[in-house]
Symmetry: C2
Subunit: 322 residues, 2 copies
């Protein structure tokens, strides 16, 4: 893996940084001590590692302790002005073409859009040629200012998928997380091609949708809502949180607003409520649904529960740039 | 319990605050929603609750989102300049005299110092009279700028106990936490009088001391140290952390420094090391010792391990004001 040690050493020189902090997402944190050591061997800079949990470029651990934050793994979120932050995007050198060739038999077409995460975003050109050689119409959509690259999706932003009208999506990448999001956000058929496991599949959002409606139904009995407002850099929607609490109170419910950094079952345990409304990371609401003792709703689901939105008008909660 | 709703409403008027945040320690968090509601009934202010874990006045959750932070439970730490923070000290109205009378049979004397936490600090005058009536010499020491009241101790500061030369200490308060700290910090006999359970006991630090030496011994085999630097308002000792890491490296060990907000087994799981050195909250090191998979040492214990301090020169790690 390329942690760009030379480039970081150069940056330290250029910026005259005396203290830098390295931030790794959970999947890369174990490389931190070694990367720190390698940087310190090349420069005189003091290197700190961020020990706080991190799941995206929405969570930048910068403060006055460090002159420069080096964030590994994710691409910058353009709409978040991040001064004194350098992003080391981690690109995978796995060859994606074999699994894409495999995926061809699952693609009905004819209009297919490519989506991926930052790890494979540099492969989309060759994937497109591969699909076009097979006679498919292949496009790559440009998202809003929450994503940096055409075709790139985040767990909370599928604007590059929604940007174009297609029959299906081909997602390149490992895990179910992003492909599931594309399926939930677009309602379209999503073929997932995992180049690491060389495995293809159709992303199935139906189980999640059943779970969402079950939680919405359960929350219909709630009289007390705890509205959550995240404090991580790119997860702040305090105005929305306050508006939702206000709406609940106007309709005769009890509601209060909690600002919180890390959303876990044990931090929420102290805040009794019959339902939670989460304006922070939308994926905590969806992916960690079974971990919380009361239903956790997205803002859109909450509007369904209080009767402001029709139950048939489901939409995935996303962080979209204005 | 008196949450000083009227006083907070006045403060909102005086400071023209539009948004305030209420911060409760874990034991009081469940009262938050009700206190928020009562404040909102008296003023037009927007009230947020802090959802982040809090165990002391060393951890103030203030940022630009709120014009004023109201911190409940603890007394202000004088050495931490806390602008835009109002402290609502929670005083207990339990009568401490009955359990103090009970404790008299355990006191050998003749010179006894009184120590307590902020909940009972207003009772020390009457407790002193009680002890003096029994023929004891009773004193109340003044601590450093980490504590607000004479006789007050924190989990990390026993300067008011060490300020005076006595034969024994009488601790007034519930739980083993503070009394144990007095015993560890002074090495003297500590009689604990719990007014809630009406129970008296002699605080026994010997088990903890055995555990500390067992962990120190285990850490003697460590070659890789992870040095932890806390980021909470009153737990920052980054310079010390960097100095300790430097000392380790100079002596041929591997060492790296991690800045972290919330110290838990699961946040540390990502940082492999044969021993941790904790410069953040000293009580996490002592009280949560068995929760971490590798020995966690205080800075003083670390100096013993690397041979910079004699093994017989044990001292409790404290946050002392300079």
């Amino acid at each position: 893996m390329d942690f760009e040690i030379e480039r970081i050493a150069e940056l330290v020189e250029e910026t005259k940084a005396r203290v830098i902090r390295l931030q790794f997402p959970e999947g890369l944190k174990r490389y931190g001590p070694d990367v720190a050591k390698r940087i310190q061997q090349q420069t005189n800079v003091t290197v700190l590692l961020s020990g706080n949990p991190c799941y995206g470029a929405c969570d930048l651990d910068y403060d006055a302790q460090a002159d420069l934050l080096v964030h590994f793994g994710h691409a910058e979120i353009p709409e978040i002005a991040a001064q004194r932050v350098h992003f080391v995007e981690m690109r995978s050198d796995v060859n994606v073409i074999p699994v894409v060739n495999d995926a061809l038999r699952l693609i009905k077409g004819p209009r297919v859009a490519l989506v991926t995460n930052v790890q494979h975003v540099h492969t989309l050109g060759s994937v497109r040629r591969c699909l076009e050689s097979a006679g498919l119409q292949c496009s790559i959509g440009s998202g809003d200012r929450r994503v940096k690259y055409p075709g790139q999706v985040l767990g909370c932003n599928f604007s590059s998928a929604r940007a174009i009208d297609v029959d299906e999506y081909l997602y390149i990448g490992g895990g179910a997380f992003h492909a599931l999001g594309v399926a939930l956000a677009t309602g379209k058929r999503v073929i997932a091609a995992d180049p690491f496991l060389h495995r293809t599949s159709i992303s199935d959002a139906s189980l999640i949708m059943k779970q969402r409606y079950a939680l919405i139904t359960k929350a219909l009995n709630a009289r007390t809502f705890c509205v959550l407002a995240g404090t991580k850099t790119g997860q702040r929607r305090l105005d929305l949180a306050l508006e939702l609490a206000e709406q609940a109170i106007e309709r005769g419910y009890d509601a209060y607003t909690v600002t919180i950094n890390e959303l876990t079952p044990w931090t929420l345990y102290q805040f009794p409520a019959e339902a939670y409304v989460n304006t922070a990371c939308p994926r905590v609401t969806i992916d960690d649904a079974t971990r919380f003792k009361a239903p956790m709703l997205t803002p859109i689901e909450f509007e369904m529960v209080i009767g402001k939105r029709d139950l048939s008008e489901y939409a995935l909660d996303e962080f979209s740039s204005s």
